[in-house]
């Protein structure tokens, strides 16, 4: 239940990739036979990705991960448009791939507005509109948040971007493959996808670059991807990404409905069984990714809960500082002004297509005694004193 972190490849994906490891191993940039068959497989994959997000295949460049895509989109826009302006608008709940890239650009003379969110993790669009200045060259807002699952009103933001003629980028890594993503309807100029979040292997992603968008290169070198990204293409990964996109397109509605049902059952079950649990993210389930549930179990530190789950074979992730490897708890929790202790207590359940009703029942069975045991051990929990 940690599918927002990564997931296994979907059935069918690996099978499609296998021939390209040995028999069809050519370099798609080569003219000869070994290259040609491979090139056409890459172009098929490009069409599959394009179909999922409603763009033209020529508007896609394959990259190695979501982080690369976000670096490319943001640094590439900053460099291409630096004569036009030096201001970027983004949010305080972006993934580090966006946040740290923006912070880096601040050291290079750019100015960045990090929009606040409310206690449910939502943006104020009026604040966004007011943040736009003459100098604004980029608006970058994630489509859906990886920690709390909130879905942002990308279409509305796209209309604002259009109104003020500002380039609009969305880190769509958590949305693509889980909910419907239409870059045309959203008026997006740039969007980033990462394969391993929806059934493709790790190490492959794509960036959508609307035709005509000014974007400087990030990866310099060879002529691959029509001069937009150097480096021999990760052919097997790209083939896998294509198939994962096709599967996602075909099953999106049913998968989302099935997963939302499981997630809702988990959510209700937890709140019914355990007192003093706080939901992190928007209370309306439709405003969150269908698979995501983030809750804080008061009085318990997240990692200790995670490890207990782990011993029961349940994988989740935690917003506690200890888990993230940094000293501070999740920046998303901080942005939502979640009490610092409750932030340390947060656990994210993110379901996948592999999860079943039985998995949810199992979690709901194992969770209460673990929480009880850990609360009993906690010096913050005094209720058990008679």
């Amino acid at each position: 239940m940690d599918n927002n972190a990564t997931m296994s490849v979907r059935p069918g994906v690996l099978e499609a990739m296998l021939p390209f490891f040995r028999e069809q191993f050519g370099n798609p940039s080569s003219v000869h036979w070994a290259g040609r068959a491979v090139n056409s497989a890459v172009e098929t994959a490009r069409e599959q990705v394009a179909a999922l997000i409603n763009c033209s295949p020529a508007e896609l460049v394959f990259v190695s991960c979501g982080s690369e895509g976000n670096n490319f989109a943001i640094k590439g826009t900053a460099e291409a448009l630096k004569e036009k302006g030096n201001h970027i608008v983004t949010t305080s709940v972006e993934h580090p791939a966006v946040l740290e890239t923006c912070e880096y650009l601040e050291t290079q003379g750019f100015e960045v507005t990090y929009l606040k969110v409310d206690k449910n993790g939502m943006l104020d669009l009026q604040e966004l509109e007011e943040a736009i200045t003459e100098q604004t060259i980029l608006i970058s807002v994630m489509w859906a948040n990886n920690e709390i699952g909130n879905i942002y009103p990308i279409d509305k933001i796209g209309r604002l971007a259009k109104k003020y003629k500002v380039c609009f980028h969305s880190d769509s890594v958590q949305a693509v493959g889980k909910i419907s993503v239409d870059v045309q309807q959203a008026n997006l100029d740039l969007a980033v996808i990462s394969g391993h979040k929806f059934g493709a292997p790790k190490g492959v992603g794509a960036i959508y670059i609307r035709r005509g968008t000014r974007l400087s290169r990030f990866m310099h070198g060879g002529h691959q991807e029509r001069n937009r990204r150097a480096g021999t293409l990760n052919v097997t990964g790209i083939v896998g990404l294509g198939v994962a996109c096709e599967l996602a397109a075909k099953n999106l509605k049913q998968d989302a409905a099935k997963i939302a049902r499981l997630r809702d059952k988990l959510e209700q079950g937890i709140f019914a069984a355990i007192p003093e649990v706080k939901l992190n993210g928007h209370p309306r389930q439709q405003l969150r990714l269908p698979n995501t549930l983030n809750v804080s179990f008061a009085y318990i530190e997240g990692e200790s809960l995670l490890l207990n789950f782990d011993m029961k074979g349940i994988a989740v992730s935690s917003g506690s500082a200890c888990t993230s490897g940094s000293l501070e708890p999740s920046h998303v929790m901080r942005a939502m002004c979640v009490d610092a202790v409750l932030a340390q207590s947060s656990i994210r359940f993110s379901l996948g297509t592999d999860n079943t009703e039985e998995d949810v029942d199992y979690v709901l069975q194992e969770l209460p005694p673990i929480v009880q045991r850990l609360r009993k051990m906690s010096p913050l929990y005094n209720r058990d004193k008679l």
């Binding site: 990692e303 500082a321 932030a343 051990m377 913050l380």
Partner: protein, 122 residues
């Protein structure tokens, strides 16, 4: 990530709980940073006869709390004061580097408990 010993002390922590009328209580950490350890000792004739803990914290925090109570029971107060956080980590066959700082404070909590005891008997 964690050694088998850490996982053992984490999943079967020894001496969880509080001591009513404890001789001394020590507390370290800050919940908003993710770790609070509270250690209770019962002292008889300069010897720690019993020790218990309550901890809010990660795997390392719980395991070191458990270990420090185990290590301290039966020791004289001076011996217990000589126990360092590093010695506790070592007894657990080591901790991940990033846990050596904030989550490895159980010996400090024990020392706090001893101090509070000593102060109380003056």
């Amino acid at each position: 990530m964690y050694t088998d010993k850490v996982m053992d002390h984490f999943s079967n922590p020894r001496n969880v709980g509080e001591i009513e009328d404890a001789s001394g209580i020590g507390e370290v950490g800050d919940a908003s940073c993710g770790d609070v350890m509270k250690i209770f000792i019962r002292v008889e004739g300069e010897i720690i006869k019993d020790a218990k803990f309550k901890t809010f914290g990660c795997g390392a925090a719980i395991a070191t709390s458990s270990m420090v109570t185990e290590m301290s029971i039966g020791k004289s107060l001076d011996e217990a004061l000589a126990l360092t956080n590093e010695a506790v980590a070592e007894a657990l066959d080591g901790l991940p580097p990033e846990k050596m700082g904030c989550s490895n404070l159980a010996a400090d909590a024990l020392h706090g408990a001893i101090k509070s005891y000593r102060e109380s008997i003056v």
